[in-house]
Symmetry: C2
Subunit: 411 residues, 2 copies
């Protein structure tokens, strides 16, 4: 976390004048770091505006369209005038459909009363953190990890404590690490399963052990499962089955390809739901209504058939990209089992992921994400590839990277 106002002051100094004797804006805002990938994206767009062809392997968003049955349900809802507020926790029929999904897909009984439909997983995380934690409370999370998580905590004056993780544990927390890092102000643990940036899984027994340790300490376990339907090599149970005290965050964005609709959900202990509902009433009013109606088609067999074809395509991309990157000299000790990411060590290729990513974009027209976006622990020596681009373009990207590396070492 940046511990001064340098970012803020820089923002401010670019715009002198109209602000008089105002103090600079909140320390909170100053401490929220920009995504470095946004700089990459900005450069990429500038290059594209000059007519350059850029291949995007940086974007954490599937390139598939929302399945037509979902789109059609959304259009039907709009035509029927379904454009007013829903209840704060969501349409009862959607909460019931999500409960049905846990029953059928995972064999887990989750009462619809424990499900809050939210504006994206972002909304779910905000509700969970706001309901559970007070200022000064500490929340353990992996470093590297999804950057928004620590920023959400910061927003609420909750202290995100990054626990360094490495390839040995699949870039995930372990029960041992949780125990070792648990302190007097620790109140909970947040994991993502599969994780971002590495796409790796916590083994079911390890997650159960983490849960037991957290529970024994009177804390809360939060599990982000937004990539859980994108696990390629095995079936993995949902953390919702570990106990009613586990908070599960999920989203229609990734597997269901509904990013722009902004729809997710939170499963929380029943005793917490009145607080969750009060927070939702105040912070959101409700999740977007057209999206909620569209998502009623999310669990239809026709939809799931389409999504499983998308998923098979993602798996095929991984099977192609992973060995290609290893051949090029990237250090990827663990095969990612899920999501659509490969977290690659730079090995002997380079020293600094941010410089590497910028040069790769400028000189070869391939955009990737610097590891530094994901935390502090050895992240400058990593980059993340997202296989969210179709096979032909991905193959072209691999060729470009290969040729660029050859040119570079020849130079």
């Amino acid at each position: 976390m940046i511990d001064d106002r340098s970012q803020q002051t820089a923002d401010w100094q670019r715009h002198p004048g109209a602000y008089g004797n105002r103090r600079p804006s909140a320390l909170r805002a100053a401490e929220i770091e920009p995504f470095r990938v946004m700089d990459i994206l900005g450069h990429a767009q500038a290059l594209q505006a000059e007519g350059r062809d850029v291949i995007h392997l940086e974007v954490g968003e599937p390139d598939f369209p929302t399945p037509p049955p979902i789109v059609k349900a959304g259009i039907r809802a709009l035509k029927a005038g379904q454009t007013r507020y829903t209840p704060a926790l969501g349409l009862p029929e959607l909460r019931a459909a999500i409960a049905g999904y846990y029953r059928q897909r995972h064999g887990v009984t989750v009462s619809p009363a424990r499900i809050a439909v939210t504006p994206g997983a972002s909304g779910a995380l905000l509700l969970a953190l706001a309901a559970l934690f007070d200022p000064g409370d500490e929340l353990l999370m992996s470093d590297p990890g999804y950057p928004c998580n620590r920023h959400f905590a910061r927003l609420l004056e909750v202290r995100p404590v990054g626990v360094p993780v490495e390839a040995a544990s699949g870039f995930q927390l372990t029960a041992e690490a949780v125990t070792r890092h648990w302190g007097p102000r620790t109140c909970g643990v947040l994991v993502a399963n599969p994780g971002n940036p590495a796409g790796t899984l916590i083994a079911p027994a390890e997650l159960a052990a983490i849960h037991a340790q957290v529970r024994a300490r009177g804390g809360w376990l939060l599990v982000d499962e937004i990539y859980h339907e994108l696990i390629h090599d095995r079936e993995a149970p949902s953390a919702a089955g570990l106990g009613e005290d586990v908070l599960v965050i999920n989203s229609f964005s990734k597997y269901w390809c509904m990013t722009g609709w902004r729809l997710g959900w939170l499963i929380a202990p029943e005793g917490l739901m009145p607080a969750v509902e009060r927070l939702a009433q105040n912070l959101f009013l409700a999740a977007p209504t057209p999206a909620q109606h569209a998502a009623l088609a999310a669990f239809d067999p026709a939809t799931l058939g389409i999504l499983n074809r998308y998923k098979a395509e993602l798996r095929a991309r991984r099977e192609r990209l992973l060995p290609a990157l290893r051949d090029l000299g990237f250090d990827i000790p663990i095969k990612p089992e899920g999501a659509f990411y490969i977290y690659a060590g730079l090995g002997r290729l380079a020293d600094d992921g941010e410089v590497f990513a910028r040069q790769l974009l400028k000189e070869a027209g391939v955009a990737i994400t610097p590891g530094r976006d994901f935390g502090q622990h050895d992240t400058t020596r990593h980059v993340r590839f997202a296989y969210t681009t179709d096979g032909a373009r991905m193959a072209e990207a691999i060729d470009r990277i290969a040729n660029w590396l050859v040119r570079r070492s020849a130079a």
Copy 2:
């Protein structure tokens, strides 16, 4: 603000068992009060489930459908596959369209670079408060006022300071009151113009005087204008014209009848926009994409023609409801100039607005909002009527209230 965990403990005790030795949830969550109107709504729905006919004068949501040109634009966007993330601050063409609205409607130049498209006005308020204020900072706001405002502040550990306002100032802050209540920790002032619950306006000269006082003290003025297009009796300038240092919050929900789409916007000083963008990236990713495309039709002449007919209908309802309520004995010293609310003192009719609202619902089938939802200052002696129900039903509601009052005084 509730200052203990009684609400929280009550939630918790209803669900003993699975939570082991967990501490109860965050003090923050415990201190966020439920909307009392939600109890009324719950009772209303229970009555309706029993077959009772209930007239809703409690809901702060227009009963008009989203104008067809907006719906059609939304459907076109869905058919064209516009379902992926937009930039964090919104579609550039929508930001430009909003800037055009300020230019044409208000003669004010607002750079699109100063406009953030947000998930509802809620998202705009969250961004503004998170960007400007740190824990312990104090924010002046009217009491009574829109309840979510103080809860948003509480979420961020910012202290909402309710300034008692009365009919004499139109239930709005004045420059004098701001000056009198400004303390060493005060960092800003939040007003709504027109206000909720009273639908009253701050005169342009008064708002300019408030701005001057706030600016002189190095604070920030935030103006919620979500009802600004629903001013019935005069033209009022937007606070965006007062200076680039004023933060303006607005929404497509009320005038444009897009509540369920969840779309609003924030105008902020240009120097604050990098912080606003970083916060938006982390907290929302972006506002809902279908809604943003739909809103591109919000400023079309065809849309505005429809909306002006809606607005005329609201005005006609006010002209009917206001004298009727006064005739019945409600104390309404100020004619509300905008929004779709009437904030009515109970006069000699009753002592407690919450009891009054509950009885009125149960015995006459009319749902209204207890004044207590809006703050502490003399709010128990008030109720709020929303004229968001069509003329015939509203006339029926007036009859029901009249007959009920007669029965009550005869009993």
